[in-house]
């Protein structure tokens, strides 16, 4: 399956926007200018971009601790995100949320939270709201392989199936729950199969192939919109950075225990490189044109970081603001 040239180049630009943002945070993190825990999304961009491109602006997304990519892919403002990651007043959460609570309601990015399965039920509720209103919206819950160790996921699978809610369970399986390899967390079965006992169909997708991700997301969205009920997508992917921060440097100790050869192998499957190769090989755009996109994105990211770094912190006298609406 192929897509119009504009769509493919949009994928490329969106994935680059996420990647270059994430990589631009590395230096300020290492220098201590960014202190909020950043769970960088580098390596997983195809998932957020491929899924969100299948949604309308009015559709809903909830994310988790690793949601910079979900926020940008759903249409959140980059400057507001960068400012939030610097915990500044101009941030999307006014410096109250930090990296793990990105939110852009106007774009349908309803929120993110680091209790790893904590927003799965919130996405369930957004889908329930859509079903009660019969407004045709679809909700997506992004969560990781670690989250399927939490029981609420199974309650949500059952309830979504029971009420045939327009909910897409989008599991990003990056093979590690913080430091724990997936083999030490669960028996070796595909994660998407956890939907099967509840009657929820699903599939495993190469999460580093944005074209495959997008095709699967379109299938899931179509099923949800037509009243078919929930769908489970398991995206096999890999984070190129640490669980938190650039290299899991916890108080001077590098705790990334992943085998170096595994990391190298996954670098060879970088979703952005793969899409670039596909674009050039298919004559969709020239290397020069891609370079131009990269330069535009670089400038956008630089401007966002500049804006964030120069924004003032929230005023201390407003520490109690926003406890109640």
């Amino acid at each position: 399956m192929t897509y119009p040239k504009e769509k493919i180049l949009f994928f490329y630009r969106q994935m680059l926007r996420i990647r270059l943002c994430e990589e631009a945070f590395v230096d300020p993190i290492l220098k201590g200018e960014i202190r909020t825990p950043c769970h960088l999304y580098s390596g997983q961009e195809a998932v957020a971009v491929g899924v969100c491109a299948a949604l309308d602006e009015r559709d809903y997304v909830f994310g988790n601790h690793r949601s910079h990519g979900h926020y940008l892919a759903k249409g959140g403002d980059m400057k507001a995100m960068a400012a939030e990651i610097f915990c500044r007043k101009a941030g999307c959460a006014r410096g109250r949320g930090g990296s793990m609570h990105l939110i852009a309601p106007e774009a349908g990015m309803l929120g993110a939270a680091p209790i790893v399965a904590g927003t799965v039920s919130l996405a369930l509720g957004a889908a329930l709201a859509a079903a009660i209103r019969k407004d045709g919206r679809v909700a997506v819950s992004f969560f990781g392989d670690g989250a399927v160790g939490e029981g609420v996921v199974y309650e949500c699978l059952n309830f979504a199936a029971l009420k045939r809610l327009p909910l897409i369970f989008a599991c990003e399986n990056n093979l590690y729950a913080t430091h724990m390899p997936i083999r030490e967390c669960r028996v070796e079965r595909d994660i998407w199969e956890i939907g099967v006992p509840f009657g929820i169909p699903g599939e495993k997708i190469d999460g580093n192939d944005v074209m495959a991700v997008h095709a699967a997301a379109l299938r899931a969205v179509e099923r949800c919109r037509s009243g078919g009920g929930p769908y489970f997508l398991e995206f096999l992917t890999y984070r190129l950075r640490g669980h938190v921060g650039p290299d899991d440097n916890i108080q001077g100790t590098h705790t990334d225990i992943r085998p170096p050869e595994e990391i190298v192998a996954w670098r060879g499957r970088d979703p952005i490189d793969r899409l670039a190769d596909y674009i050039v090989a298919g004559g969709i755009a020239t290397p020069a044109a891609l370079k131009e996109i990269r330069e535009e994105v670089r400038q956008e990211v630089a401007a966002a970081l500049e804006f964030a770094a120069q924004s003032p912190p929230p005023p201390q006298e407003e520490v109690n603001l926003y406890v109640f609406a």
């Binding site: 509720g125 926003y322 109640f324």
Partner: protein
């Protein structure tokens, strides 16, 4: 003039739900047993027939997911009421209530809010033991971002339910099965009781009895008994326990100089401790005697009726405490 309409506490809640759902299509009721009197008494009667299964949603036993779904629906523009017919089961739902709903407005920098009602019913007594009897309001009141209301009368049950539904914040509505048969005047039209505002139940010059929910009625009984002994007890019904009506408490304390705090919850770090601390911090100059708490002991609820009899506090306990404060014996 005709006398005001009288109805029971549970039917006052029922009327609030009917009126809220009638007035606002975003209001819906979800939870275990909403179509069964076994769970929610007659508080939900007629709702399913009138509003249909899309807005009156009986659920499987999945407290965490169902409560989270109510929170998510609120974030997505609805005004859900999620009922927990036995409050003890709400521990499974603490994550969506505390981690998500309570923090949501703050951690989103005010760009998103969660207008949800978490309705929990206390089911004490009847030899139901430790996991069917707990009153958890103090735990919820501890959490920033949650409001907690505890109506004692049918009038307040209706008015606080309507106020909770219309509030833009998460509100924990705590009632008590022992109150469901209480009768009192309830106006037919929709009205709100302001959240955060207590009620002076009766005046008195010697001692202030601060109570909430079912214990208001024990405090009233105690005040009557004390009156017979020549002790004037002022009774305050908190109605809302978060935020507390501090001014009402302090102005009464200013008048009587003595304070008995009565609570149907546990002692340590509980509601009574909070009111006592307020009196110490802000009413110290008024105090003629130490503050006394009448609460449940720091002990799980027993099953045996014989033990229940000494476990739950009554008007007699309140009288004893007040008498000692006023007369020294």
């Amino acid at each position: 003039m005709s006398s005001p309409r009288v109805m029971t506490y549970s039917l006052a809640i029922n009327e609030a739900l009917h009126q809220a759902m009638e007035a606002d299509p975003t209001v819906f009721l979800i939870g275990q047993g909403v179509k069964s009197p076994w769970y929610v008494g007659n508080t939900a009667q007629g709702l399913l027939d009138r509003f249909g299964p899309a807005r009156v949603i009986d659920t499987p036993v999945s407290e965490n997911a169902v409560t989270g779904a109510a929170v998510g629906a609120a974030v997505a523009g609805m005004r859900p009421i999620v009922v927990h017919p036995r409050m003890d089961f709400m521990f499974y739902a603490f994550d969506p209530i505390v981690n998500e709903a309570a923090n949501w407005h703050y951690m989103s920098g005010g760009c998103s809010s969660v207008p949800v009602v978490f309705w929990g019913i206390i089911n004490r007594g009847g030899e139901q033991a430790a996991q069917h009897s707990q009153a958890l309001h103090g735990m919820f009141a501890h959490v920033p971002g949650l409001k907690v209301v505890m109506p004692a009368t049918p009038y307040d049950a209706k008015g606080l339910m309507l106020a909770a539904i219309r509030d833009p914040n998460p509100v924990v509505f705590v009632d008590d099965r022992w109150l469901y048969g209480q009768e009192g005047p309830v106006p037919e039209e929709p009205y709100e009781v302001e959240i955060g505002r207590g009620r002076l139940v009766r005046g008195g010059k010697d001692v202030t009895l601060v109570a909430s929910s079912r214990m208001v009625h024990e405090a009233e009984r105690a005040a009557l008994l004390l009156e017979g002994e020549g002790i004037g007890a002022e009774v305050i019904d908190l109605r809302t326990i978060k935020p507390l009506d501090i001014d009402l408490i302090l102005s009464s304390l200013d008048k009587t100089g003595r304070l008995v705090v009565v609570d149907g919850g546990w002692r340590t770090c509980g509601l009574a401790a909070e009111v006592a601390a307020l009196a110490a911090e802000r009413g110290f100059g008024s105090l003629k005697a130490p503050v006394v708490r009448v609460t449940l002991p720091d002990c799980p609820a027993p099953a045996s009726a014989a033990l229940e009899k000494v476990y739950y506090r009554t008007a007699a306990d309140i009288c004893r405490a007040a008498r000692k404060l006023v007369t020294g014996s």
